[in-house]
């Protein structure tokens, strides 16, 4: 699908041009309004705690890195590194596992499709529509009985299940754009499926695979409910760390801002990198 700008050539009337400028201004205002809380958060994170807690707000207060130092535990607080490393492990490992499972599945749904492949596609999609919270208790009991409680690998498995439908749908649409002739040629040359996937399909579908990976990463990184229930001291992830971060009374506004930004940074980076494919991932591949 090509993105066509549908603004037809405007009648060269002064009123039309004025109207266009006004609408452009409105769009800018709306954009600024939406991003303002985020910008305010960035500014506050660089203020000292006492400057952050004034009313009316002090915009021009001097900047400092104190809250970032505080967040990273320089002055003796809990270090965020174990939680960040857990989140990274859970997100990266589940993303890889998702891709390893989704790529062959997408192949069997697009390039050499099984019978009734659309039914299979919709089975994957339907699992995404059931609320995870309804399976929470059995999963918790299972993890408890098998010693997987407070283990980051339990999250890897759950996040893979959470993201697999999205990945299958996205990859299916990317793989169906791979020309069939190339694959047939490889088959004639005697290449086996793993070789075909790895040497022929993957390189062509690489941008699509990368976008899928970024979206799986974002969802895994953001997840709170399962991480909250299934992890404790050892396997705590970054969002869980963030919710338990504000325990002390007193001023913490700047530190909360710094902590939230540091923990959101990987998602912000991945999201802006995958901006164009974000819609496709969020709509489970229905919109391109």
């Amino acid at each position: 699908m090509t993105a066509v700008t549908t603004t037809a050539p405007r009648r060269p009337m002064l009123r039309g041009r004025f109207q266009g400028a006004a609408l452009g201004m409105t769009a800018w205002l709306a954009g600024l309004l939406f991003v303002l809380p985020l910008l305010w958060m960035v500014l506050t994170s660089f203020h000292s705690e006492s400057d952050a807690a004034t009313n009316p707000p002090s915009i021009a207060a001097s900047l400092t890195l104190d809250s970032y130092r505080g967040f990273f535990g320089v002055d003796g607080g809990a270090s965020p590194w174990p939680a960040l490393i857990n989140s990274m492990t859970a997100s990266v490992a589940s993303t890889l596992l998702t891709l390893v499972l989704a790529l062959p599945a997408a192949y069997a749904l697009s390039i050499r499709p099984v019978k009734k492949w659309t039914d299979v596609m919709f089975f994957f999609l339907s699992t995404k529509m059931l609320p995870l919270v309804a399976g929470l208790l059995p999963i918790y009991l299972f993890a408890k009985n098998t010693g997987l409680l407070d283990n980051v690998w339990a999250l890897v498995i759950l996040y893979t299940a959470m993201n697999l439908p999205i990945a299958v749908w996205m990859m299916q649409s990317f793989l169906s754009e791979v020309p069939a002739a190339i694959i047939e040629a490889a088959q004639i040359d005697g290449a086996k499926l793993p070789t075909i996937l790895w040497r022929v399909v993957a390189p062509i579908a690489l941008p699509g695979i990368a976008a899928t990976a970024l979206i799986c990463f974002i969802f895994s990184w953001n997840e709170l409910l399962f991480a909250r229930v299934l992890t404790g001291v050892v396997a705590e992830t970054a969002p869980v760390f963030l919710t338990s971060f504000i325990t002390s009374q007193g001023l913490f506004l700047a530190k909360v801002c710094a902590a939230s930004l540091v923990i959101s940074l990987p998602v912000l980076a991945a999201g802006f990198a995958a901006q164009d494919k974000l819609v496709q991932g969020l709509s489970l591949g229905a919109v391109k």
Partner: protein
């Protein structure tokens, strides 16, 4: 998008009885790449639901594991008669409907603005996406502490700027708890709606628009007669997907109000029922009710996705 239509080929081959056996093997060879993902999904997502369904018929408190017994539909009648649990059903519906509708209207307006050419359009688009890319917990903390704080939050700060020392300084979260949760969710989900609707707007037939303009249709006529009918499916899709995600919301409720002040929705209540009250049977019954509600939503959602999907495939 081009997709091969294989079923006919396979079906035709299956009719020849002599070739049946190798064909069956070939069919399995075709299926093989699909199986790991399929089995994984069934094990991890379907089995727990079956377990939840079974547990929902038992009177089972984790603190008294010996006292576990079959209870029939007792958990269900308790879920539907306990005021807090019943209220959380209503809260879930209210929260979801409000957030989805407001985000949809805002998202539509923003998508229409972004569909026009203007200077810095890419920058505005990026600014609009930003709220969605904040970790949900971080976004909830931002609203709770940085914006809503009654003493030094930004909202009251701005009110004091405008109104001076006598300005009203509401305690947002205790005075309007549900609206506080909704506001933070609307801020995060409007970008989602905007992106889907914008994709819809950009897939309009440009020739049709051109032709309508030639015929002298004005902006409003074009919106009502061309844009809206075309956008119907995209609007349905964004409403349904938004509902599916927001019905399941846990992060905002947990972070902003901890389910207090009448903001506990079903996911939060289920979490609390089993994690803090250890009522396994009750939590499972509530879980089954959520599933039934979601299934109704999902049936419609699948229909919309499938109509868009088939339109893409046949293109």
């Amino acid at each position: 998008m081009t997709v091969a239509t294989p079923p006919t080929r396979v079906a035709a081959a299956a009719k020849r009885p002599a070739a049946r056996r190798p064909n069956r093997m070939r069919a399995w060879a075709t299926r093989a790449p699909l199986l790991p993902a399929l089995i994984f999904m069934i094990l991890v997502t379907q089995l727990p639901f079956v377990a939840t369904l079974v547990i929902s018929f038992f009177d089972w408190n984790a603190l008294y594991p010996d006292d576990r017994h079959f209870a029939g539909f007792a958990n269900y009648s308790e879920v539907l008669s306990t005021p807090e649990l019943r209220k959380s059903v209503g809260t879930t519906v209210l929260l979801t409907v409000t957030v989805v509708l407001v985000s949809l209207v805002l998202g539509m307006a923003l998508a229409l603005l972004l569909d026009r050419k203007f200077r810095g359009r890419a920058a505005v688009r990026t600014m609009l996406i930003a709220p969605f890319l904040l970790v949900p917990v971080a976004a909830a903390l931002l609203w709770k502490h940085v914006l809503f704080n009654p003493e030094y939050g930004l909202f009251n700060g701005v009110l004091r700027w405008i109104g001076g020392d006598g300005a009203v300084q509401p305690d947002w979260i205790s005075e309007m708890p549900l609206m506080a949760v909704e506001a933070s969710l609307i801020w995060q989900w409007t970008p989602f709606m905007t992106l889907i609707l914008l994709a819809g707007l950009q897939s309009r037939d440009s020739q049709l628009i051109e032709a309508a303009r030639m015929d002298g249709a004005n902006d409003w006529q074009m919106f009502v007669h061309i844009t809206l009918p075309h956008m119907r499916r995209y609007i349905e899709l964004s409403v349904l997907l938004g509902s599916i995600y927001i019905v399941q919301n846990f992060d905002a409720v947990y972070t902003i109000t901890s389910g207090g002040l009448g903001t506990a929705n079903l996911p939060y209540t289920i979490y609390q029922t089993f994690y803090q009250a250890h009522e396994n049977g009750l939590a499972s019954a509530a879980g089954v009710i959520v599933v039934i509600g979601s299934l109704i939503l999902a049936t419609f959602a699948l229909r919309v996705v499938s109509s868009l999907f088939r339109a893409e495939v046949s293109r």
